[in-house]
Symmetry: C2
Subunit: 355 residues, 2 copies
């Protein structure tokens, strides 16, 4: 399977949506930062060294990771066009940050798109495992396996006292960032989200928007992750995040039920109006679409809307982004045109028969 | 046919929508004010005199009008319950004003509900003919025929110098009010309606909302009528109103085409979003429904929405009013409940198959 084929199919493993608490936890992600001994960090890297890093990782992937992930595909970012790179970002398989370092960057992906390895982002390697629902332990096991496989070939920069050496001090130690993407329309609607989130920093967690640091919380979607990766084991970090996530999930579920009981028909009205707008609008911004999709998804989760697979909404959240949209429509488009084709995509995909 | 049957069927002649300029002119109305010689105006009328007036009109209707309108039905307002009276107002067959005088009021209606005769409103008689589209001349011919028929039995108060004597000086003379109901989303959207309307008073015309004086212009619907009925013949009044109406219609049509050309897909987006909201909302106020129906009707008129009969919207404008809605649902409801059942009615009626 070529890399272009992987990009062509919009679906990734994490969009499947099945698993524990899949109604609220969209995805779980483990990301390990690793660097090679004796080579400057990517920001200080010349072309020759950067190419050498790429080659080493490529060989390591080919030699070892292959055993468990037979179709891992490796490519330099220079081999991809802008739209393909954008799609990888929109699918959360590479970071927006890697695009800025695209000259020396590379990425390896397995067939399911559950595992991705970024090369020459902030660190030499960023090993990511992204799974649907609340599956931090599973994601950690997979990422750890890939990490161990690569380590047989690669010589990681590791300090006895501090742990894995990374470009940014916040990643030193385990080099791990564990995160979950949560859909929290209940807590947002009742204005409880803010209070909840401000308490998170006290337990070493941080909240971000849909596309990472600095992006807004569109569609009531939030990413919660550990702030510091030192002084705790990987298991401790995961247990902490899992426990807090479970608490947020419980609160969100309770709040949704409360909303359903208290608002009754007005809540039903709100989710169906959102459906009606998505079903018939002719022009639709990504931002507005996410907000409406969030309402519809809430309606599905609460049993107010029948006949729509909740997964279609996780997929649509990605599909309506500029790169994916242009790929699906096989058309290069400016923003105005994308708004028109986005509306068309939504109209087709969101249709429930006989209602 | 009993009076209750007439009320049961929500459709009236004027809702048929066919005829000249029926895309913009919803209906045409001629109303003649008449009083009986030697009897005080209704406001000064005791029970005995009021009953006498009712009886005289009833007999006149039975004796004469019957020739051309075989099924004219006559009833005292005291024989109708509140909901039935409300329905007559919502269908524009009696005035809200008659309800306040309901103790002595009466009404006669023909089977098509094109002709209605109010008794003991502001004047002893108010003869009304209400037709779809721009048909002021036809409405005038019909009202005149009814008037002549009644005059064979009744002795009208008439002054050689002033003409027909009426309770309010603005009706003295011909006693006639001619009016048209216009749907003007184009002029309202482009904010040209106000300028147009302020010029109307200079040609002796006045603008009102959907349910007469003091009501707001909901759903971009306006009633335009002559302000004074003296010093001009009926034909002159009608020609003046018809001519101005034709000018407004031309402007509205031009503006709609302009909107379609200039806004393009955004206009399409707006009318389809309105459709989507009406199609799926679970709670809907009458005011908001009228505004959305106005958008949908504009979409139909401009060929942006296919598969919906424009007449259904004229009907829905009436059906969604409190009295009609309760009649259709066969249920007495408070305001909150009406909003829920109104949404249900709209969902059912506005459905286009296979889109």
């Amino acid at each position: 399977m070529s890399f272009k084929d992987i990009i062509k199919d919009i679906r990734s493993k994490w969009m499947e949506g099945s698993g524990a608490n899949g109604d609220i936890v969209i995805s779980s992600r483990i990301r390990l930062a690793r660097n090679l001994k004796g080579i400057p960090f990517p920001q200080q890297l010349g072309e020759e060294d950067a190419s050498a890093v790429k080659k080493m990782v490529k060989n390591a992937v080919a030699a070892e990771v292959i055993k468990d992930f037979p179709t891992v595909d490796f490519t330099s970012l220079t081999e991809l066009d802008m739209m393909q790179k954008q799609i990888l970002v929109e699918k959360h398989l590479i970071s927006p940050n890697l695009l800025e370092h695209a000259r020396y960057g590379a990425v390896a992906l397995d067939q399911d798109e559950a595992v991705s390895i970024m090369v020459n982002e902030e660190d030499h390697l960023r090993i990511q495992c992204l799974l649907p629902a609340l599956q931090l332990n599973e994601a950690w096991r997979t990422a750890d396996k890939v990490d161990n496989g690569l380590e047989k070939t690669l010589d990681y920069a590791f300090d006895e006292n501090f742990g894995y050496v990374t470009a940014c001090p916040t990643n030193v130690g385990t080099g791990m960032r564990a995160s979950v993407m949560l859909h929290l329309p209940g807590l947002v609607t009742t204005k409880r989200a803010g209070k909840f989130f401000s308490a998170l920093s006290q337990v070493g967690l941080v909240v971000r928007g849909l596309y990472g640091e600095g992006t807004e919380a569109l569609g009531n979607l939030f990413q919660i992750s550990n702030q510091i990766s030192m002084g705790r084991t990987e298991e401790e970090i995961i247990n902490n995040l899992s426990g807090i996530t479970q608490k947020i999930v419980d609160q969100e579920r309770e709040t949704r039920q409360l909303l359903k009981d208290e608002l009754g028909i007005s809540l039903e009205d709100r989710v169906w109006r959102a459906y009606g707008t998505l079903r018939y609008a002719r022009v639709m911004s990504a931002e507005k679409a996410l907000s409406l999709l969030s309402q519809v998804r809430l309606g599905i989760d609460l049993g107010l809307i029948d006949g729509l697979d909740p997964r279609i909404l996780t997929e649509l959240m990605v599909m309506l982004q500029p790169g994916c949209l242009q790929r699906i429509m096989a058309l290069e488009m400016d923003e105005d045109m994308r708004d028109i084709y986005r509306a068309r995509l939504l109209r087709e995909r969101i249709k429930i028969d006989n209602i």
